[in-house]
Subunit: 77 residues, 2 copies
DNA sequence: ATAATTGCGGTCTAAAAAGGCCGCAGTTAA
DNA sequence: TTAACTGCGGCCTTTTTAGACCGCAATTAT
């Protein structure tokens, strides 16, 4: 499918994650270690290249020390 | 993979979605129509049987007329 | 009693995520 | 000027979601 409106939303999510990671001054590899997700995958997530699952959201939120809910705290289309 | 701790979290998410659907007095088929997701899939989601993606979360939130963030507003392990 | 609705499980295919590893430019530190 | 770190993209395999359709048992109307 890969609907067009989704692409923008994935980018928004990615930017938000990147913003939060940088706020904690973590490198991709450091966050990778903290949430047990390959650093290249996190890079793709931040770029909005993959449509992550709920459990991946939980892993990231935990490592970033925020609530899953907060991770999605953005306006989507 | 299907980690054990994830199962519980998926059930929590599912319960939350079910609660929100019932609060709006929608049947599975009605919600299905509203968010364009097959009713049998929604059933599985509510039962915690599948690990939905970010975009599916957006679809459900939209149909339930709440923010994606609110859809995840629960405590997870 | 009959008909409609509802939740839910099963089945199938195609598409995509998960998970992991490698390597390369570019930047930063030693 | 080396050495280390960083972001990032490609590649590969396995597992799972997405998406769609069918049918049934139970509940709820009519």
């Amino acid at each position: 499918m890969i609907r067009q409106s989704d692409k923008g939303n994935l980018k928004k999510l990615g930017s938000n994650i990147k913003r939060l990671r940088e706020a904690k001054k973590l490198s991709l590899r450091e966050l990778s270690y903290a949430c047990d997700i390959d650093n290249s995958k996190i890079s793709k997530i931040e770029k909005g290249q993959i449509n992550i699952t709920f459990t991946t959201i939980l892993q990231l939120a935990k490592a970033l020390e925020i609530s899953p809910s907060e991770l999605l705290m953005t306006e989507y289309d």
